[in-house]
């Protein structure tokens, strides 16, 4: 095969305590489409950031054309001919296509006359086999067209390695096939194309080689002809399930707490059907972009459902505001503690009472701070929040302790249905186990828990049943006794389609 352009040798990268990459190796050759697959959190984005000079590796070597190089920043990477394209393209909405292509001072196009610039832009777009009016303002472009602008920009800078990070995740089928054709064209011109995707079928369509990564390390690199979807999934999931958490026996009852039929939010997700029982933990699995959080936001009234029905304890309800959801006993623990979950500069006490201020109000709307403090202290002990007192600002706590404050805030509401969105993201293993125990305790006491998680071992350990979503559609529900990580992954990546297999 052709010569090697870029090589990563034993690259490791750690952020404070966490190791994002461990001895990662990768070799990119001119003229190939090199697919990279791995679970959420396997280290793909860190790897991209190493290649594009955003992060410096903690150890290891980057070689370009066989020469060891350090990429001191994104500029250095661009000068070496390495460019990345993300799901959300970087375009300047008020500039036209040609101006967007020649935005960087690195390509001389910036100093061309407008007419010449347009001509050069047209030539680039044609080279990609596309037709696009280069005088159009970027704000009027579709997402796919914006991506083409970005590819053309990279081409104008004589790109040698183009990294495409889930480029087709938000595109229609036709646009996606166009984009894949462009990727192929680029490879034929001698560019090394790194193609990151969760859609295994498109990898089989265009990739020459496939690298599987897991837990920040390299697992395998194979020519596409020597691998199968099953093999890839097995390698992606890989680890021993028993390693992390033991399966906890379920406590589900026959009483349905939440009944959801044909739930949909237009253009976001559709056809979501499930019964959530009292005492049950139902997990929502899927990849990034599966729209699981959107289902939660519909149930919590943040972005209300546009179609379908919701029944709580046998009564049909309409939920249009979080307050309504809370009044019928639904709580939502957001995945984004910083933006949606906690008032970071405020105290643990203030955050614990945040969703239930009404409980602490006395005559004339006065706040019963003594009672508020007692409740916060009680939760501090019950949830084992490690802090000397409840006056400390939550922003200074560790991720695990912040997560517990979030739980305290919602448990104080005494909800019947608790939706956890990525309950253990970004917290250490010890705290994870504690959070799992709290969720189990909640279910055991008769609560109905809905857990959205991208962490497969967590799903396997917690879920009584698993509902798998993919791109806004429900792919199936698997009972825990039948669930394997491979099965969930196969559904989540669209390799298998089963309905109500439970």
């Amino acid at each position: 095969m052709a010569e090697t352009i870029l090589e990563l040798l034993d690259i490791s990268k750690s952020f404070e305590m966490t190791h994002a990459l461990k001895n990662m190796s990768l070799e990119l050759k001119a003229g190939e489409v090199h697919a990279i697959v791995g679970e959420n959190g396997a280290g793909k984005s860190t790897m991209i950031k190493i290649m594009t000079g955003v992060h410096k590796p903690t150890s290891g070597e980057i070689r370009i054309d066989g020469q060891a190089r350090t990429l001191s920043g994104t500029q250095a990477a661009r000068e070496a001919g390495i460019a990345a394209m993300y799901q959300e393209p970087m375009v300047f909405p008020d500039l036209d296509v040609a101006e967007n292509i020649f935005i960087s001072a690195r390509n001389k196009g910036l100093f061309l006359k407008p007419t010449q610039q347009r001509q050069a832009a047209r030539a680039l777009v044609t080279r990609l086999g596309m037709s696009l009016d280069v005088e159009l303002a970027a704000s009027g472009l579709t997402l796919a067209e914006q991506q083409i602008v970005e590819i053309a920009r990279a081409l104008s800078e004589d790109v040698r390695v183009l990294i495409m990070d889930e480029p087709t995740a938000s595109l229609s089928a036709y646009e996606a096939s166009q984009l894949r054709r462009i990727a192929k064209t680029l490879a034929q011109e001698g560019v090394a194309v790194v193609y990151i995707s969760h859609r295994l079928e498109e990898i089989f369509e265009i990739a020459d080689r496939v690298t599987v990564i897991r837990d920040g390390g390299h697992i395998s690199t194979r020519p596409i002809s020597e691998t199968t979807a099953d093999l890839m999934i097995a390698e992606m999931v890989g680890r021993d399930v028993g390693n992390y958490f033991a399966k906890i026996p379920g406590t589900a009852t026959d009483t349905v707490a939440l009944k959801v039929r044909n739930l949909a939010v237009d253009d976001v997700f559709e056809g979501v059907n499930f019964d959530l029982h009292k005492g049950e933990v139902l997990c929502f699995s899927g990849l990034v972009g599966a729209r699981r959080t959107d289902v939660a936001l519909a149930l919590f009234g943040v972005k209300p459902a546009t179609r379908g029905t919701i029944e709580v304890n046998g009564t049909a309800v309409e939920i249009r505001h979080p307050k309504q959801a809370m009044d019928i006993g639904i709580a939502y623990v957001s995945e984004d503690r910083r933006k949606l979950g906690l008032a970071m500069p405020m105290s643990i006490q203030s955050n614990t009472s945040l969703a239930t201020l009404g409980k602490f109000l006395r005559r004339f709307g006065l706040l019963d701070r003594a009672e508020e403090r007692n409740v916060a202290e009680a939760f501090r002990k019950r949830l084992n929040i490690r802090t000397p007192n409840v006056d400390i600002a939550v922003g200074t706590l560790s991720g695990g302790n912040q997560q517990k404050v979030m739980l305290a805030k919602w448990l104080n509401m005494e909800p019947e249905i608790l939706i956890f969105d990525e309950p253990t993201r970004g917290i250490d293993v010890g705290a994870k186990a504690e959070v799992h125990e709290l969720i189990r305790e909640f279910a055991k006491a008769g609560g109905a828990a809905l857990v959205i998680s991208s962490d497969l071992p967590e799903v396997m350990a917690l879920g009584d049943r698993n509902l798998v979503m993919r791109e806004g559609r429900q792919m199936g529900v698997i009972a825990s006794e039948n669930a394997t990580q491979e099965k969930i992954m196969a559904l989540a990546t669209g390799q298998q389609n089963l309905r109500e297999a439970s």
Partner: protein
């Protein structure tokens, strides 16, 4: 977080003491009751409005229209009295106008979701325009004697009505901000509105109430101004919003919302008033006085950043932190 403001309030207090010492050494008259009352009296309308402005800014918003609302209130009162409306009735109508104007701001900010900077800039122009339409370029002066007396004479001993209202309002709003659920929500929404929304707090209603209160209090301040001066013109209270916002920011309220206290605002009021008074005693012109206040404001915005660094340097030493 609040430890920063505690120290800021301590700093303000220190500055105040220095100014008071300097002023009393400049003039034995300074600390007399009549001088102090006089000093408050000259700015009483602004400092009344600064109390509600403290709420608005802690909530993460701004109300630029208060000066124009004060002007509109005074002019509407003058116009109605001129047309033969009984002054007492006119007062009530003016307060209703204040509520309505504030509700208008609140509607566009809380329900439509426009930035308060834009909405209240528009009403700053609109309310002022309306005020000028009502009185044109006349001055209206013939108010009933009881109305003038309320503004110009002491109500309890030498203390005039406006000052009593200020003190009562301060106490009331202090309790609301520090001791009630409403006050807590004011901080939470200002800290992170999305968090408040996700906790089921009706943030739109909260902002609506705050802007209505702001309009009402600005209208009240406009009436007090009319009574104190005994005359209204189209440019009454022109530009007052800037002095009011200056006081609040100087008091340590964060322009980004979420932190600050009424005690800070109160200290800033005392500092600005005594500083101006002291400089006047030294025969320093008004323009230079304004410049000095400006420097103080810059310092007040910059200082917390350095303070924050100091706090980060000491990270790890547990401090007692309080948030509201």
């Amino acid at each position: 977080m609040l430890s920063k403001f505690k120290s800021w309030e301590g700093f303000l207090f220190g500055v105040l003491v220095l100014i008071l010492i300097a002023n009393s050494s400049l003039s034995p008259e300074f600390l007399t009751l009549s001088n102090q009352i006089n000093l408050f009296q000259l700015s009483v309308e602004k400092i009344i409005v600064s109390l509600i402005m403290t709420f608005i800014i802690i909530n993460g918003e701004i109300d630029l229209s208060v000066g124009s609302m004060m002007g509109l209130a005074a002019c509407a009162f003058g116009w109605m009295v001129d047309q033969g409306t009984p002054a007492a009735l006119a007062c009530i109508i003016v307060l209703l106008i204040g509520c309505a104007g504030g509700a208008l701001n609140g509607y566009f900010i809380a329900r439509v979701g426009l930035p308060s900077l834009v909405v209240t800039l528009a009403t700053l122009i609109g309310f002022r325009g309306l005020a000028r339409v009502l009185v044109e370029d006349r001055g209206i002066t013939d108010f009933p004697d009881w109305f003038d007396a309320l503004g110009q004479q002491g109500l309890i001993g030498p203390i005039p009505l406006a000052l009593i209202l200020f003190l009562l309002l301060f106490l009331f709003l202090y309790v609301v901000l520090q001791k009630t659920g409403f006050g807590r929500k004011t901080y939470v929404i200002g800290t992170n509105k999305a968090v408040a929304d996700f906790a089921g707090i009706d943030t739109a209603r909260h902002k609506q109430i705050l802007f209505m209160a702001s309009g009402l209090i600005a209208a009240l301040a406009g009436l007090l101004y009319a009574a104190r001066v005994g005359a209204v013109r189209g440019d009454v209270a022109f530009g007052f919003e800037l002095d009011i916002i200056t006081i609040v920011l100087l008091g340590g309220v964060s322009i980004f919302g979420g932190s600050g206290t009424l005690v800070g605002t109160f200290l800033a009021i005392l500092i600005v008033l005594s500083l101006r008074n002291g400089m006047a005693l030294l025969n320093i012109t008004g323009h230079i006085q304004t410049g000095v206040i400006g420097i103080l404001l810059v310092a007040s915005v910059v200082a917390p950043r350095f303070n924050l660094k100091a706090i980060l340097a000491h990270a790890g030493t547990p401090e007692k932190k309080e948030t509201s």
